[in-house]
């Protein structure tokens, strides 16, 4: 039983944040981040260590101001840590220039934002394609890949729709397709369900848990929404700039998504 009372069995881990040794795609060690200057300087992160394994959906949960988003920004190479080391796809990020960090992001990281951050003047297909465009991937192949990514999130019929004509859930699925299309090693999601109603929130979490099954990709979602826990393989708790706990799904225990799918299958049978 989890701390949130979820019915999914999650076992506590001995070393919070550190995944069992395996093909780790992201590894952060003793990350410290100071924000502000002078008297206003604060330590948002006080020595966070964590690693992400492919094939897993990890949730990062904690109260407001606990350092979730700061940690996500550092793991996404958007902010640089004051202290500590970060390796993405075995590549240390220390000493990289902003342009090199941008290159690392476009090669290895996919982002999903709370407010979707779609380009209002571009269609759904163009919004997805732009993630390939920044990588220099253009032409008909990019169009086909963008369309496939939208198909994967169930929006094949909305290719030419502008964000203003899509529901919140659809917009977030476009954002997921955009993060997915570049086949990143790590997908980082910031409060992916916060702006969605319950039904759309579940749909997006189902999508993320499906994506996380890819053996070459790890998904980390920052959230404070307890409804998302059943979809996770692993839950990290952060408080006051430190990882204070980790719960891992016990072997053989199905996610809510899997349970629902099995129930549906049985009902159909």
């Amino acid at each position: 039983m989890s701390a949130d009372g979820s019915s999914i069995a999650i076992a506590p881990s001995a070393a919070p944040g550190i995944a069992p040794a395996g093909n780790v795609v992201l590894e952060a060690h003793n990350i410290v981040k100071e924000l502000g200057q002078g008297a206003r300087k604060t330590r948002a992160l006080k020595g966070v260590s964590l690693s992400l394994n492919p094939g897993e959906l990890t949730l990062l949960m904690g109260p407001s101001g606990s350092g979730k988003t700061t940690l996500l920004s550092i793991l996404g190479c958007i902010l640089t840590p004051t202290e500590g080391t970060l390796c993405i796809a075995s590549r240390p990020t220390a000493g990289l220039s902003p342009e090199e960090l941008a290159r690392l992001r476009r090669r290895h990281i996919g982002f999903i934002f709370q407010s979707y951050n779609l380009f209002p003047t571009l269609t759904a297909e163009e919004n997805v394609r732009i993630a390939l465009d920044v990588r220099g991937e253009r032409g008909s192949d990019a169009i086909v890949r963008a369309q496939r990514a939208l198909q994967q999130v169930g929006l094949r019929h909305k290719l030419k729709s502008y964000p203003a004509n899509l529901s919140g859930g659809e917009q977030q699925r476009v954002a997921v397709a955009r993060a997915l299309v570049g086949a990143p090693s790590v997908m980082l999601a910031d409060e992916p369900t916060a702006a969605l109603d319950s039904e759309n929130g579940v749909a997006v979490m189902q999508l993320l848990s499906e994506i996380a099954k890819d053996a070459s990709r790890a998904v980390l979602a920052v959230t404070h929404d307890p409804r998302t826990i059943p979809f996770a393989n692993r839950v990290l708790r952060i408080e006051d700039g430190l990882i204070v706990g980790e719960e891992r799904r016990a072997e053989g225990v199905e996610t809510v998504h899997q349970l629902a799918r099995n129930r549906k299958r049985k009902a159909n049978a």
Binding site: P98, R103, R105, F111, F113, Q114, N117, L122, R138
Partner: protein, 376 residues
């Protein structure tokens, strides 16, 4: 997709696009008019010198331009003719005088007296009558653009210069004066009579060299021969001196160029302001691009494409208006000139103006903290 994004950003906000276009239009039209006037003025100022068939000009020392010259002694013509390498020396009389209109009243004109059959300087673009008509008694040739200023209706009309009657024997088209004082072509003898000028005086001696003669060598020899009151200039030197006098000594050219620069500055400020505000409005999108891993160059290309699109669109619209102004100025005393070179220069200036304007927007984007994508 940089172009698509730039295009959509630009057309997304129609009001801002309109403001940008107004800025570019204002700038293009102002610069086109000012530089067109400058070119028009240049052409008019030196039209007599450029149209003359001569290599050297002998004139009163210190003469600043074609119209304002003091008399020199006609012996300078013979000094020229006695110089090796000189094929021909044509005396010309140029002087301001009063023109008494047939309809009453007087106006200032510039009388140009020279014998057309000698070559040197003769009316061009003759649209009515003939240059040979100047051989007739009292004959003068005027430009049709000054007909109403001179109180004339056309060929055959008569007027008076001093106490003498003159009759319009022909008309030219487009021979205008920078001083807006009409030119009146006549023969050397008649001009002397009309202007009451002593027989030993002329205004210029236009020297045509024999084929193969060295201009500078002949000029050196001529300088030795002419009196101290005269000087010898090459055609190019007289051309430049006239331009310098009218365009720079009087400040007219400086005003025209200054106006053009002002147009560019105002245009740049307006375009920079609108591009900056457009970038600011789309700052979250640029931050998202940065978060997606786009290089700085990619974002710069979006902004520069937006600036280039604005430039091309503004240039096209601006040139339509500028060409209308050029067309409307054709029959005015100082026509605005548009040449392919000026059109190309304007395009270059517009693109440069928009590129410079984009710098402020690029500066803004460079300061983006990509972390804002998490704070929306």
């Amino acid at each position: 997709m940089t172009f698509t994004l730039a295009f959509r950003n630009l057309f997304h906000d129609r009001i801002r696009l309109a403001v940008t276009m107004v800025g570019i239009l204002f700038s293009i039209v102002l610069v086109a008019v000012q530089l067109g006037l400058y070119l028009g003025a240049r052409n008019i100022i030196v039209s007599m010198i450029d149209r003359s068939d001569g290599d050297l000009w002998i004139m009163a020392y210190g003469t600043k331009n074609f119209e304002e010259a003091q008399p020199i002694n006609v012996r300078e013509k013979f000094a020229a003719l006695s110089t090796p390498g000189v094929a021909k020396a044509v005396p010309i009389i140029v002087s301001f005088t009063d023109w008494r209109k047939p309809t009453g009243g007087t106006t200032l004109v510039v009388a140009i007296g020279t014998d057309a059959e000698e070559g040197g300087l003769k009316p061009w673009n003759v649209v009515e009558g003939d240059v040979s008509g100047l051989g007739a008694r009292d004959a003068v040739i005027v430009d049709k653009s000054y007909l109403s200023d001179l109180g004339l209706k056309g060929v055959g009309d008569t007027a008076q210069i001093g106490a003498s009657r003159v009759r319009v024997a022909g008309m030219t088209d487009g021979i205008r004066s920078f001083t807006v004082t009409p030119y009146i072509f006549t023969t050397l003898t008649r001009s002397r009579s009309l202007l009451d000028m002593p027989a030993e005086n002329v205004t210029y001696v236009l020297v045509k060299l024999a084929p193969g003669a060295d201009v500078q060598a002949v000029r050196r020899q001529l300088r030795e021969k002419v009196t101290d009151n005269s000087e010898v200039l090459t055609k190019a030197e007289f051309h430049d001196r006239s331009l310098n006098h009218w365009l720079f000594a009087t400040g007219a050219g400086v005003a025209l160029i200054g106006g053009a620069i002002l147009g560019l500055v105002v245009g740049t400020v307006i375009v920079a302001q609108t591009l900056y505000s457009s970038t600011k409005d789309h700052i979250n999108e640029f931050a998202t691009l940065r978060a997606l891993g786009s290089s700085s160059g990619y974002i710069h290309r979006v902004i520069l494409a937006q600036a280039a699109l604005s430039a091309v669109l503004g240039y096209a619209l601006g040139m339509i208006i500028a060409m209308t102004v050029v067309y409307m100025s054709e029959q005015t005393p100082l026509p605005i000139i548009m040449t392919p070179g000026l059109a190309a220069l304007l395009l270059g200036l517009t693109v440069a103006m928009c590129a410079i304007s984009a710098l402020s927007a690029i500066g803004k984007v460079m300061r983006i903290d990509p972390a804002v994508v998490f704070n929306r």
